[in-house]
């Protein structure tokens, strides 16, 4: 259980990041994508195909070359959509911003916060 001080500090960092231009631009781009039927459909289709192929591969099934080519073609089509391209570009800016903040977080710790936060140890 985190102390109240830790919770407040984590929340303060999150709120400061949310106010940053990169996060604001990304959230807007994300909302624009979700509101556009064509972009949303492309996103959903790509995710569905990815999950299906990954699931089959994880079950040991060998995928056909044509299936991989079709997936890559869909991925390219998705990436070319202007709203999705904008969302991806703004996300890259968010990543730069977040990595920069994470460096400040890592400094007192001497370890990479983000790497430990996403590590699952049984």
């Amino acid at each position: 259980m985190l102390t109240e001080e830790l919770q407040n500090s984590a929340c303060a960092l999150g709120e400061t990041l949310r106010a940053s231009p990169s996060v604001q631009a990304y959230l807007k781009a994300q909302a624009d994508c979700a509101a556009d039927p064509e972009a949303a459909d492309l996103d959903n289709r790509l995710l569905a195909v990815y999950k299906e192929l990954l699931g089959r591969q994880q079950r040991g099934e060998a995928l056909q070359r044509s299936e991989i080519d079709a997936f890559n073609a869909l991925k390219n089509q998705v990436r070319q959509h202007p709203l999705i391209r904008e969302r991806d570009a703004t996300l890259e800016m968010v990543k730069i911003n977040f990595r920069d903040s994470a460096e400040n977080l890592n400094f007192p710790l001497g370890e990479e916060f983000a790497a430990l936060a996403v590590t699952t140890i049984p």
Binding site: L13, P21, S101, E112, A114, T119
Partner: protein, 133 residues
């Protein structure tokens, strides 16, 4: 007379984020979980058996990176050494301490991400360079 909306500049936001991140790092550093983790790490690093096994592991990993001899021999040796290392009580203590820190950091990340509106750690993580570093 007109009221002006307070304007926060990008550089003020950056300073504010830097400050918030540094403050959070300082708080995490002084938690019992992180203190125990650093202590366990220190004990592990100063344990002669762990040091010896780690040096052998590095040597086999280097040999696999630039294969000169029998690859399978190095792979077998690596698996044996890693099992030996994991069986050491100092390593198990370290592993438990690391798991506690990971759980705490994941909780902190959930709070940051919720407030930011975007997953924090997943997007802040340094990407691998493919060189094992």
């Amino acid at each position: 007379m007109t009221l002006q909306t307070p304007i926060v500049t990008n550089s003020e936001l950056k300073t504010s984020a830097d400050h918030a991140a540094r403050e959070l790092g300082d708080l995490l550093l002084h938690t019992p979980e992180y203190t125990a983790f650093l202590k366990a790490l220190n004990v592990l690093y100063s344990n002669p058996t762990a040091q010896k096994i780690s040096a052998e592991i590095r040597s086999h990993k280097n040999a696999l990176r630039w294969p000169a001899g029998e690859v399978s021999e190095h792979e077998v040796a690596l698996a044996r050494l890693e099992t030996e290392l994991e069986a050491l009580p100092v390593f198990q203590d370290y592993h438990l301490a690391e798991a506690a820190v990971c759980r705490m950091f994941a909780e902190v990340d959930t709070i940051i991400s919720k407030a930011a509106g975007v997953p924090f750690a997943a997007n802040a993580k340094r990407s691998g360079c493919g060189c094992g570093g």
